[in-house]
C-alpha cells in the first residue's frame, strides 16, 4: 500500500478506494433527502435522493455520497445460511 493510501486510514481507504464499490452504512437519522449514517464508528452525511424509501435503522449501500440501494437483510441472512450449508457439506468429506 502506498503512503498515500496509509494516510487515509483503513475505513476511508476502503470507502474511497474504487468507484465499483459501495459500502454498507447504517442510517441513524433522516433530514429531508439527507441522512446521517454510521459505519465502524465513522459518521457521514449522505444523500438519500436515490433511495427515498430508506428508513432509520436501514443499512444502505453508499457510493460517492449517495445511498444507491437499501440492503435486504432477509436476503443477507439467506445467503449466509446457504453458505453455512455448503460449508457443512464439505466437512462431511
Amino acid at each position: 500500500m502506498t503512503p498515500f493510501g496509509l494516510y487515509y486510514g483503513l475505513t476511508w481507504a476502503k470507502i474511497q478506494e474504487a468507484m465499483c464499490l459501495a459500502v454498507p452504512v447504517k442510517i441513524v437519522s433522516i433530514d429531508g433527502d439527507e441522512a446521517e449514517t454510521e459505519i465502524a464508528g465513522v459518521r457521514r452525511r449522505v444523500s438519500i435522493a436515490l433511495t427515498p424509501e430508506a428508513k432509520v435503522g436501514d443499512y444502505v449501500l453508499l457510493h460517492t455520497g449517495y445511498a444507491i440501494g437499501v440492503i435486504d437483510e432477509a436476503e443477507a441472512e439467506e445467503t449466509l445460511k446457504l453458505l453455512e450449508e455448503i460449508a457443512s457439506l464439505s466437512e462431511v468429506h
Binding site: M1, T2, Q16, E17, A18, M19, C20, L21, A22, V23, P24, K26, I39, A40, S47, A49, L50, T51, P52, Y59, L61, H63, T64, G65, Y66, I68, G69, I71, D72, E73, E75, A76, E78, T79, L80, L82, L83, E84, I86, A87, S88, L89, S90, E91, H93
Partner: protein, 367 residues
C-alpha cells in the same frame, strides 16, 4: 463491519472452494466486468481457492481506464480555460493524456479539485459564483444517477455556473460489443454488483439468450465472488446459461426505479468512445437538450491537438481481456504506479494496478 465481515469468513470460503472444485470438470473461461472485482479477486487470493479449470479474465469495467485519450485531452484543455474550476474523481488526475495530465495542468496553475461526490462539485460551484465549475462525469450506471441528481439540484437552485462533461458509459452495450467481437471466448460473466443495484438483472438477459453465455451478478466480498463462481460453474456444467443474482442483499431484478427515473429525465443515450475498443453505439449518456445549460460540451469549446496513445501501452488489450498486465512489456519495468504509462496502472480499479499491488508468484499463477 456489518454486511462486510460475515462475507469474509474463512471457513465458509473453504466450503465454497471445495464445492466448486468438486463440481468443475470442464474448463470455464470467466470474465469479471468490474475493476473492483479484479482487485478483490487478487487481494483475497480467489485464484488459489478455485480449481485450475476456472480461468478468469478482467474486463472493461474501470471508468477511468476506458475513458478515451481524446476525452481526457478535452478535459485538460477545459482546465486551462480562464475562470474554470475542474472537479473530478481522484483517479483521473494522474492519467497521462496525449501531451499532459490533469495533475500536470494543476502544476501549471489550473484550478483542479478532487471530489468524492458530485455533491461536493455542486458545493464548489455555489461557493465560487464567479467561476465555471465543470465536473468530469466518468462512471457507469452506478454513478450516472448521482450525476443526474447533481444536475437536477443545480437546476432547482437556479445555478448558472455548474456543468458536467458527460463521459458516462453503459455496461450492457459494451458487454455486447465484446461478445460480438469474439476476440476472447467466454463461458460466463461475473456481473457488476453495484451497477446492477441500479439497473437490475433484466438488461443482461441477452447474454445467455443471444450468446449462450452464463451471467451471474456478484457482490465484492470474497464469499460473494466465490458464490458467483459456484453458480457460474453450475450453469456451465449443466449447459443451462441464464442470468442469476448471487448478491440478493443488494440487487433486485428490477433495480432502483428512482435512480432510473432521474437518469431518464436528465440523459439520453448516444455513442461513446471507449479506450481500446473504439466507438460503441448507444453506450454513452449525453445530457438532454432541456438541461443543456449544464452540458459542458455545449457551454465550452476547446480544440485539443489530435490524440496519441502512449507507445507500447497495452491498456486497450487489457481492457478487452485480450492480454493480462504481465504480458505487457512495460508492466513493472517501465510502467509503475509512481510513473504510470496508461490508465490501467493509475486507477484503483485498473487491472495493471491490481496485478502490481497484489501480484505474488502464487497469486499470478496461471495468469
Amino acid at each position: 463491519m456489518k454486511f462486510i465481515d460475515e462475507y469474509q469468513d474463512n471457513k465458509l470460503a473453504k466450503g465454497l472452494a471445495y464445492k466448486i472444485t468438486q463440481r468443475s470438470t470442464k474448463t470455464v473461461r470467466l470474465m469479471e466486468f468490474c475493476g473492483g472485482h479484479t482487485h478483490a479477486i487478487l487481494r483475497y487470493g480467489i485464484r488459489q481457492l478455485v480449481p485450475k479449470t476456472v480461468e478468469m479474465k478482467s474486463g472493461p469495467g474501470c471508468p477511468v481506464c476506458v475513458t478515451a485519450t481524446a476525452d481526457l485531452d478535452k478535459a485538460i484543455a477545459l482546465a486551462h480555460l480562464p475562470d474554470v474550476i475542474i472537479t473530478t474523481f481522484g483517479d483521473m488526475i494522474r492519467v497521462p493524456g496525449s501531451y499532459s495530465s490533469l495533475q500536470q495542468a494543476k502544476a501549471e496553475g489550473a484550478d483542479i479539485r478532487i471530489v468524492y461526490s458530485t455533491i461536493d462539485a455542486v458545493e464548489i460551484a455555489k461557493a465560487n459564483p464567479g467561476k465555471s465549475v465543470i465536473f468530469i462525469g466518468i462512471g457507469f450506471e452506478t454513478t450516472a444517477p448521482t450525476i443526474a441528481a447533481s444536475i437536477l439540484k443545480a437546476q432547482k437552485e437556479k445555478m448558472e455556473n455548474f456543468h458536467v462533461l458527460s463521459l458516462n458509459k453503459l455496461t450492457p452495450p459494451v458487454m455486447k460489443a465484446l461478445l460480438d467481437s469474439g476476440e476472447v471466448k467466454l463461458d460466463g460473466i461475473v456481473g457488476p454488483g453495484h451497477v446492477s443495484v441500479i439497473i437490475g438483472s433484466h438488461p443482461y438477459e441477452f447474454i445467455p439468450q443471444d450468446y449462450g453465455v452464463a451471467c451471474v451478478i456478484s457482490g465484492f466480498e470474497p464469499l460473494d465472488i466465490l458464490l458467483c463462481i459456484d453458480k457460474l460453474v453450475e450453469q456451465i456444467e449443466k449447459g443451462e446459461p441464464k442470468v442469476e443474482i448471487a448478491y440478493p442483499r443488494g440487487v433486485k431484478p428490477e433495480g432502483n426505479r428512482k435512480a432510473w427515473q432521474l437518469m431518464e429525465d436528465v440523459f439520453e443515450i448516444g455513442e461513446a468512445n471507449w479506450r481500446g475498443i473504439g466507438i460503441v453505439p448507444r453506450s454513452g449518456l449525453k445530457v438532454k437538450g432541456k438541461y443543456e445549460q449544464f452540458d459542458a460540451d455545449k457551454a465550452f469549446s476547446v480544440s485539443p491537438k489530435p490524440p496519441r496513445e502512449p507507445k507500447g501501452c497495452r491498456c486497450g488489450d487489457v481492457i478487452r481481456g485480450a492480454a493480462t498486465p504481465v504480458e505487457c512489456k512495460l508492466f513493472r519495468k517501465v510502467c509503475t504506479p509512481e510513473r504510470p504509462v496508461g490508465p490501467c496502472m493509475v486507477s484503483s480499479e485498473g487491472a495493471c494496478a491490481a496485478y502490481y499491488q497484489y501480484g505474488t508468484p502464487e497469486n499470478l499463477q496461471g495468469f
